[in-house]
């Protein structure tokens, strides 16, 4: 076999590719991130807000773009495409065509002088063609890399040989019209395909009149909503007026076998709900309606989001698939034509604007790439993977993640991406660190003798801050504060160009302290701290003033008071930053082992993925056997038995030399933190590990009290599966009831898997005995993504579907089920039945609170573990070194659990792969001269970091032995409790010193900025 190469090529620079690249780069592998457009960011960069939290998409994405750009192990290859792949797993040669940008990236500073002079206007892809850009352009303001590109098809010089304006005005001589496409060969050990999807083009569905200017696609509508969009966030019709009534038409290019697109696109129901809600947030008078077949709110928090939209915001959800849009020949107004649910009547309703919720289709470039890579695709053009290997293609060493394999939302894509990174990392574990470079920073400037020179950046965050807080006024005020030598406004402080600008400003004004007034330090502090380091400033000489989450977003109707509050917040931050000290970290050895709690498919996958990379791994399962929830089911959706995936997995777990399994055992005690956890098992075994993954799964709810559960002929889906396997289903008329105990006040969430499970079992029942009558009573059929196939197949086999609503539930009697069918004009049916099967939701198992307590991680109100960020950190906890996977986070299908498990392993291994861990600079220290040895610090410290030691004190008169406190920097977590407790002020809680906090309190009080007078 050829030599292994410690590098990976990631094709596609959307959120999937970025996540894969970051995980691999953090693990010590070299990454080539290849993107065909001039900037990384993908479709997520075009989105306005993300469901279900309505977080600003760019705000969460932008730090990732910047991180990818500045990661020393990632080489960005934008405006580039893979031309050829040869070789085999571990050692591929990939030929990459670098398209000519006609701009020298080393010379261009994106000063934009050329933009003004370029005469050629082109439809702007970023704004979905709703505005114009120039032929020389930056794709969007936060683009990475921040370098101009010339669009050769529209450049007047390149097409006609005339013009040359950009070259004339460029002061850096960056324009090079002679540049040619060139091929570059890179040598990598693995390839990850993550080139995403193409939005469906609705032109072919003529009945929806996409040619009408007020019929727009959902992606166009995202741009209309966006503050960086064509109308800076004001939704407008073609005539310039604000629409008063907007309709969303679901399943445009999805669930439509007639055009060869039978599958569900998985994301449209939620993005339409989101778009309706955001549009109503912009304009409280707006009326919205979403025409749908089923509302597929299946993910974590989605059902609650949908209910909120429906019940609190007043979004109308109309259950009908419109047959078309009519245009009034006189007024040109739009009218949606649809069949009223439960009748054969057709209705028409006028709308000012119609949004087509277009599906996700495999892109032509993805298909081409799949062909180049030699990987198999299914009949629809998705890359073929299996339930038990969701990131693995048929070509060894080539993996796929994100929407290239199937339509999915952002968190599932991110999990997939980390999962694919895990798979690539496993092959190349022995080559970690062979091709990478250390991140280097310029030498740190010594500021200890300097007076504070503070720079303040006040961010508009598009309109997130600037629409409420009067930013220019704030900037002028900030300039009057003590020690502030420079203050300025920035549209997006976190974009790569703004970060570069901060570095320049630090140098230009010789700043030794920086304040950025923007959003929460909980997400953005590391980014700005790193920027400070890049300019030779110690990262602790930085402070974030949160004027978004704590000000503009929560005081939207109070511009005056919010502006005053923003001034106060920044004044307090300036007072604090003036007194901050540079702090230094220490590098420590740590334990490189992993621990996984829960031996279901998620836990086993995670444990195997860690062990395969050479790390000692412990897997702990409470039950006597491995296998978890899947052991109670008998078949997978693809027809295989569950044993077909469980048995080899259990065998692999048991035979891996790096992996120790403890069954029938619980983890009872945990102490320590990332890198040095110590745990005690119920059998008394003590273990040490550096990182932990919680994969404690979920159980099928026992639907006591619902639909007659408990009688002999009322069973759950898992019980049905066992009977089907035994061949003991003795029933001619089977009724399945969906949402049995779910989507109600007690369990307000959708359990995601039950519809797919019901379809799988309905098909099995029909196949076993085609004469059987099967009725599925449902509220919404949520066979999202590719599992729509099963719904179609069930209908083809003659399974009957009847819809009920939460306030009019079916009643299970003795041998009958009665239902008011919403599909048939509220007709009351009495179905004779000999078997009722309840689709009960998955619920969190007993004991999750104990596990949560051990690691100090949160669970949500439904007792599922709460991840660090619902979109971009789906398997991380806020607590360092602890991760989650599988149904412990929320119910999920087997392939999703496996993808998440590999993702959690990838995240954990990106820590375990480091040689040493860096401690925090934020710790407490004792001034021995002031300490009286009272020991109160040792009583309050939860970690035992302070210890009293005997010291000999020698003075002129007397020598004596006394006790003094000493704090172990490796143990201290920096909470500061000891400093608050110390009666003599001997303890300094670094970065939160008494002096610093006092200065902030004083700054709060003295609104005139006279900080020093009172300090």
């Amino acid at each position: 076999m050829a030599e292994l190469v410690g590098a990976v090529a990631v094709a596609g620079g959307g959120i999937a590719g970025i996540q894969s690249a970051l995980d691999l780069a953090d693990s010590g592998l070299k990454v080539y991130l290849i993107e065909s457009s001039p900037s990384i960011g993908g479709v997520m960069a075009q989105l306005d807000k993300t469901f279900p939290t309505l977080d600003c998409s760019m705000c969460t994405l932008s730090p990732k773009l910047a991180e990818a750009a500045r990661h020393p192990n990632i080489e960005l290859m934008t405006y580039s495409e893979i031309k050829e792949i040869s070789g085999a797993a571990g050692n591929f040669e990939v030929t990459v065509t670098r398209k000519a940008t006609y701009v020298d990236p080393d010379k261009c500073t994106a000063c934009e002088l050329c933009l003004a002079k370029c005469p050629s206007k082109v439809l702007d892809e970023y704004n979905a063609g709703m505005s114009k850009r120039k032929a020389i352009y930056l794709p969007f303001p936060q683009a990475v890399p921040r370098v101009m590109t010339i669009d050769a098809d529209h450049c007047i010089y390149l097409t006609k040989g005339k013009c040359g304006n950009c070259k004339k005005v460029c002061e850096n001589d960056a324009i090079d019209y002679e540049m040619k496409d060139k091929d570059e060969v890179i040598n990598v050990g693995s390839v990850i395909l993550s080139t995403g999807f193409a939005p469906f083009d609705p032109t072919e569905l003529e009945q929806y009149h996409y040619e009408h200017p007020d019929v727009v696609t959902s992606l166009e509508f995202e741009r209309l909503l966006s503050s960086s969009g064509p109308y800076v966030g004001h939704v407008k019709m073609a005539n310039g007026e604000t629409p008063k009534k907007i309709a969303w038409l679901q399943c445009i290019g999805s669930r439509n076998p007639e055009i060869g697109r039978p599958n569900c696109s998985a994301v449209c129901c939620m993005y339409a709900t989101k778009e309706a809600m955001v549009a109503m947030e912009h304009d409280s008078e707006l009326e919205t309606a979403v025409f749908n077949i089923d509302v597929r709110a299946f993910g974590k928090g989605f059902e609650q989001f949908y209910q909120r939209a429906k019940n609190e915001k007043g979004v109308r959800f109309i259950r009908s698939r419109p047959s078309g849009v009519d245009i009034d020949p006189v007024t040109n107004r739009l009218s949606v034509r649809y069949e009223v649910e439960g009748s054969t009547e057709t209705a028409g309703e006028e709308f000012d604007m119609v949004v087509l919720s277009i599906g996700l289709t495999p892109s032509e470039s993805s298909k081409k790439l799949a062909e180049i890579a030699g990987v198999a695709m299914d009949e629809y053009g998705n890359i073929e993977t299996a339930i038990d290997a969701p990131m693995t293609t048929n070509v060894p060493g080539i993996f796929a993640c994100g929407t290239i394999a199937a339509p999915k939302d952002i968190p599932d894509t991110v999990a997939d991406a980390s999962g694919a990174a895990s798979k690539a990392h496993s092959i190349l574990a022995s080559e970690r660190g062979t091709l990478v470079t250390e991140r280097t920073y310029p030498p740190e400037k010594d500021i200890t003798e300097e007076e504070p020179r503070i720079g303040v950046v006040v961010c508009d965050c598009g309109i997130n801050i600037a629409s409420v807080v009067r930013v220019p006024e704030v900037v002028e005020y900030v300039k009057t504060l003590p020690h502030v030598v420079h203050a300025y406004e920035q549209t997006y402080a976190c974009s790569t160009d703004s970060l570069d600008n901060i570095k320049d400003v630090i140098k230009e004004h010789n700043l030794n302290r920086v304040v950025v007034a923007s959003c929460t330090p909980r997400t953005h502090e590391p980014l700005f701290q790193d920027t400070c380091r890049g300019a030779g400033l110690n990262p602790y000489l930085f402070e974030l003033a949160n004027i978004r989450e704590h000000c503009s977003w929560v005081h939207q109707q109070e511009p005056d008071l919010a502006t005053e509050k923003a001034k106060d917040i920044i004044r307090m931050s300036v007072a604090r930053v003036a007194l901050l000290d540079p702090l230094y970290t220490q590098k420590l050895d740590f334990n490189h082992g992993g621990l996984v709690i829960g031996g279901g498919v998620a836990g086993m996958t995670a444990a195997l993925d860690i062990a395969e990379k050479g790390f000692t791994t412990y897997l702990i399962e409470r039950e006597p056997e491995l296998g978890g929830l899947l052991r109670t089911f008998t078949r997978l959706q693809d027809g295989r038995t569950t044993g077909e995936i469980l048995d080899p997995m259990i065998a692999a777990v048991k035979s891996n030399p790096n992996l120790t399994v403890y069954t029938g055992t619980t983890l009872d005690e945990v102490e320590g933190a990332m890198g040095r956890f110590k745990g005690k098992l119920s059998d008394g075994t003590e273990i040490e590990f550096g990182s932990a993954i919680i994969a404690t799964g979920a159980n099928e709810f026992e639907p006591e009290g619902y639909f007659g559960y408990g009688s002999d002929n009322v069973i759950t889906q898992s019980a049905l599966e066992v009977k089907l396997d035994e061949g003991t289903v003795d029933a001619k008329n089977v009724v399945m009831i969906q949402c049995a105990g779910g989507r109600n006040d007690d369990r307000p969430y959708c359990s995601r898997v039950c519809c797919t499970t019901a379809m799988k079992n309905a098909i099995r029942l029909k196949e076993e005995d085609p004469e059987r009558n099967i009725y599925v009573l449902y509220r919404d059929i949520r066979t999202y993504g590719v599992w729509e196939d099963l719904y179609t197949r069930a209908r083809e086999l003659g399974v009957l579907f009847m819809r009920y609503t939460e306030d009019d539930e079916p009643v299970v009697g003795d041998g009958t089920v009665t239902i008011t069918d919403k599909l048939l004009n509220d007709t009351l049916f009495e179905i004779a039945t000999d078997l009722v099967v309840l689709s009960a939701p998955l619920v969190a198992p007993e004991g999750v609170e104990n596990t949560a307590m051990l690691f100090k991680v949160p669970v949500d109100s439904n007792r599922f573990f709460l991840e660090a960020h619902i979109k971009l950190r789906p398997v991380d906890f806020a607590t360092d070194g602890v991760f989650l996977a599988g149904s412990a986070q929320a119910p999920k299908l087997v392939d999703e659990s496996i993808s998440q498990a590999s993702a959690a392993a990838s995240r954990a291994c990106s820590i375990l792969a480091k040689e040493q861990l860096e401690t925090s600079g934020v710790i407490s220290v004792v001034d021995e001269d002031v300490c009286i040895g009272c020991g109160r610090c040792t009583e309050v410290c939860p970690y035992g970091a302070p210890a009293l030691k005997e010291v000999e004190i020698v003075t002129e008169e007397i020598t004596y032995i006394t006790r003094k406190s000493e704090i172990d920097p490796a143990i201290c977590k920096g909470c500061g409790s000891c400093a608050a407790e110390c009666p003599t002020g001997a303890i300094t809680s670094r970065h939160f010193t008494t002096k610093q906090i006092s200065a902030v309190i004083d700054a709060f009080a003295f609104a005139d900025g006279s900080i020093e007078e009172v300090a």
Binding site: N546, H550, A878, A980
Partner: protein
Amino acid sequence: MSEFEPRIVMFCCNWCSYAGADLAGVGRLQYPTNTRVIRVMCSSRIQPTFILQALKDGADGVLVTGCHIGDCHYIDGNVHTEKRMENVVEAMKLLGLEGRVHLEWVSASEGPKFKETVTEFVEQIKALGPSPLRAE
């Protein structure tokens, strides 16, 4: 005369109540503008002198928040906060500043509770009127 707008110092711990405040922001939950947040890593960092200083400097009220008992990122730091704050609240009674210092637990997932906590405390301080320590 315009309505009395209290000035309130609010302490938040990094892991729970500050995150709860962030979540209130993400959820666009609207609440009064009277509070100014000082972030500390753990509520147990808040020594009683900070509260005295804030009142002396003219704050009409001080709102201390942290993780629920059992949720503390530092295991049980908030248990010490609770003890210290009990003493401070008691001392306030003796000093004639009763009701101006309040301790509340707000978790990282409790955006609505953050909003309620702030709204109710602002109302409480409005009812009490300006602090007698406030220099006019």
